[in-house]
C-alpha cells in the first residue's frame, strides 16, 4: 500500500547543479507511456516520485506533474520500478551525453 507523501522541503535541482552533464537536447533517453503525465496512474507515477535520486519525477501538492530527463544520473531505478507499466523506453544517453562523474 502506497503511503501519502509527507511535505518535501529539499531542492534537488540545487544539488544536481554541481554535476557535470552534457544534455542530449535532440533525444530523450527515457520516455513515459504518455506525454500527458496527468493521465498516468497515481500508483505508478508515485513510485517514480519516491525513487528517483535526482527527483526528476515531480508531483506538486496541487497534483501537477512534471518529468525532465536532463538531470538523469543513469542509475536505472525507474526502469526496475516501472518498465512495462508507465515507462515506455529507457536507453543509455548517446555517446558523450548524459552525466559524467568526476568523483564517482
Amino acid at each position: 500500500m502506497m503511503r501519502e507523501l509527507k511535505p518535501i522541503s529539499v531542492n534537488v535541482e540545487n544539488l544536481i547543479s554541481v554535476n557535470k552533464y552534457c544534455v542530449d537536447e535532440e533525444h530523450k533517453h527515457i520516455e513515459l507511456a504518455s506525454e500527458d503525465l496527468g493521465s498516468l496512474p497515481d500508483e505508478e507515477f508515485g513510485k517514480l516520485v519516491r525513487l528517483c535520486p535526482a527527483a526528476l519525477y515531480k508531483q506538486q501538492p496541487d497534483g501537477t506533474r512534471s518529468f525532465d530527463y536532463a538531470g538523469c544520473l543513469e542509475c536505472g531505478t525507474c526502469r526496475i520500478a516501472c518498465e512495462g507499466t508507465i515507462l515506455r523506453t529507457w536507453e543509455n544517453p548517446g555517446p558523450g551525453m548524459g552525466v559524467t562523474y568526476r568523483f564517482g
Partner: protein, 405 residues
C-alpha cells in the same frame, strides 16, 4: 574495451569501499612487479569502523578500530571510481588493450546459431571471439540481448550519494585517523525513515562520501522520497557535524543488487560471459557491503576462461563454462551462497530499522542521564523497554539473523 563514458569510470559510482584482496591477486598474477601498491589511487586505508543505530535525534554507535583492519591481505580502501577506473584502464592500455571511450554498446550481435559474435555501437559493428559483458547493475544488454530476467523491486536498492570536499587534516581530526588512513560508517534506522536500507559514510583523501541505500520494493510505497531522506539524514545531529563547512561537489545515484545468490543470472553463453555487477555479484550484510572485490575476481576469471577458449579454438558455451566452474570454486559464488538466506531476513526485519534504534536510545538514555531523582536499579529501568517490544519476538528475530549469517 568499450566504455560508454567519456573515460573509464565516468558512468560509475560506488559507496565506496574496496576490499583489496582480489585486486592484489590480479596484480600479483599479471602485474609482474610493475605496479607499486602505493601508486594505486586509493583514497584512504580503512582502519576505523563504525556502525550506528539511529532514531530521530540520537545515534547509538559501535566504534571499532584495529590493526587487523589494515593488515595486508585483509586491508580495504575507500575509493572514488572516476580516478580509480581511469588508473585501471590505463594499466590495461599499457598492457596492450585498446580502450574505446564514448561508445555505448546498443546490442550484442548474434549469429544464426544464436551464438554471440560481437557488438553493435550505433552503425558500427565490432566482432570478437568472446564478448564479456561488464556494463554494471543496470544491465540492459543481459536483459535485452541475453534474456536475463529483469531484477524485481525487492531484489534491488537505489543508492544515492553526495561527495563533500574537506581538507585532509580536517577529515583526520573529525574521524580520528592518521594521514592516509580513514573511517567507514554504516547507519540503520531513521536514516531511511525506518524503511529497509541504511546510510553510509566513507572518508576519502580530501572528501567525504555520504549516502543512503534503500530497497526499491519498500521505498516505492514510502511516505517520503529518497532525496528527502538524504536531506534529513544530512541534518541529523549525529551526521551534520561530519559535513559541517564542507562543499558539495557531486550528487550521484546508482542501483545495488541485494538479492544475493538467488538473483545471480546465467553468466555463460555461446561466445559471451557476464561479469561484475551485471551478473548481480553483490552482498549487502548490513554491517558489510561487498561488490567490487567480486567484480575484480569475476572479471579475471572471465578473461582467463575466454583466453583458454580462444586458444583452444572453441568459444561455445560448454567450452566457456570453465568460467562457471572457476566462479563456483572461488570465494565469489561460495560467499554469496553461504549468505543466501540473508536478503530475506533483512527484507522482513522491520524491527531493525524502527524499534531497535528506539530501544537502544531509550536504554542508553536511562544509562547515561542523571537528573537528581532517586535511582531505580538499572535492570528495572531497562526491562519495560524490551518487554514492550516482546522478549520472545526479539529473541526469535535475533536467532533468525544469526542462523542466516
Amino acid at each position: 574495451m568499450v566504455e560508454r563514458g567519456e573515460y573509464a569510470g565516468a558512468k560509475n559510482m560506488t559507496g565506496g569501499r574496496l576490499y583489496a584482496h582480489s585486486l592484489r591477486s590480479v596484480l600479483e598474477g599479471y602485474g609482474a612487479g610493475e605496479v607499486d601498491w602505493d601508486d594505486i589511487p586509493f583514497e584512504r586505508k580503512i582502519v576505523h569502523e563504525r556502525i550506528a543505530l539511529m532514531d530521530k535525534a540520537s545515534a547509538c554507535t559501535v566504534d571499532f578500530s584495529s590493526e587487523e583492519l589494515g593488515r595486508e591481505t585483509c586491508d580495504s580502501y575507500s575509493v572514488l571510481r572516476a580516478p580509480f577506473d581511469q588508473w585501471l584502464s590505463q594499466l590495461a592500455e599499457q598492457a596492450g588493450c585498446e580502450v574505446l571511450c564514448g561508445m555505448a554498446v546498443d546490442e550484442l550481435l548474434r549469429n544464426d546459431d544464436g551464438a554471440i559474435y560481437g557488438i553493435r555501437v550505433g552503425e558500427d559493428r565490432i566482432t570478437a571471439h568472446v564478448v564479456i559483458v561488464a556494463e554494471g547493475v543496470n544491465s540492459l544488454l543481459t536483459e535485452r540481448c541475453l534474456g536475463a530476467p529483469r531484477p524485481r523491486p525487492h531484489q534491488m536498492a537505489v543508492g544515492i550519494k553526495e561527495c563533500f570536499e574537506l581538507p585532509a587534516r580536517v577529515i583526520e581530526d573529525r574521524f580520528l585517523c592518521q594521514p592516509g588512513e580513514g573511517a567507514a560508517m554504516l547507519f540503520a534506522g531513521d536514516c531511511t525513515h525506518g524503511y529497509v536500507g541504511g546510510g553510509f559514510m566513507y572518508t576519502n583523501k580530501e572528501s567525504i562520501s555520504l549516502g543512503l541505500v534503500a530497497t526499491i520494493g519498500h521505498l516505492q510505497e514510502a511516505d517520503t522520497t529518497i532525496c528527502q531522506m538524504l536531506d534529513d539524514f544530512k541534518k541529523h545531529p549525529a551526521v551534520a557535524p561530519m559535513i559541517s563547512g564542507a562543499t558539495l561537489v557531486e550528487h550521484s545515484g546508482h542501483m545495488v543488487s541485494e538479492g544475493g545468490y538467488d538473483m545471480v543470472p546465467r553468466f555463460v553463453y555461446d561466445g559471451c560471459l557476464v561479469a561484475g555487477d551485471a551478473a548481480m555479484l553483490c552482498m549487502n550484510l548490513g554491517y558489510q557491503v561487498r561488490g567490487m572485490d567480486f567484480a575484480i575476481a569475476s572479471g579475471r576469471l572471465a578473461a582467463e576462461a575466454a583466453c583458454e577458449a580462444i586458444d583452444a579454438g572453441d568459444v561455445s558455451c560448454s567450452a566457456l563454462s570453465a568460467y562457471k566452474e572457476a566462479m563456483e570454486s572461488s570465494f565469489v559464488i561460495k560467499d554469496l551462497k553461504a549468505y543466501r538466506s540473508w536478503p530475506q531476513v533483512m527484507d522482513g526485519w522491520s524491527g531493525m530499522f524502527n524499534e531497535y534504534p528506539s530501544m537502544a536510545t531509550a536504554a542508553l538514555n536511562k544509562l547515561f542521564t542523571v537528573d537528581g531523582s532517586p535511582l531505580v536499579p538499572l535492570k528495572k529501568r531497562l526491562k519495560p523497554i524490551v518487554k514492550q517490544y516482546g522478549i520472545v519476538k526479539l529473541a526469535r528475530e535475533l536467532k533468525r539473523a544469526v542462523d542466516a549469517l
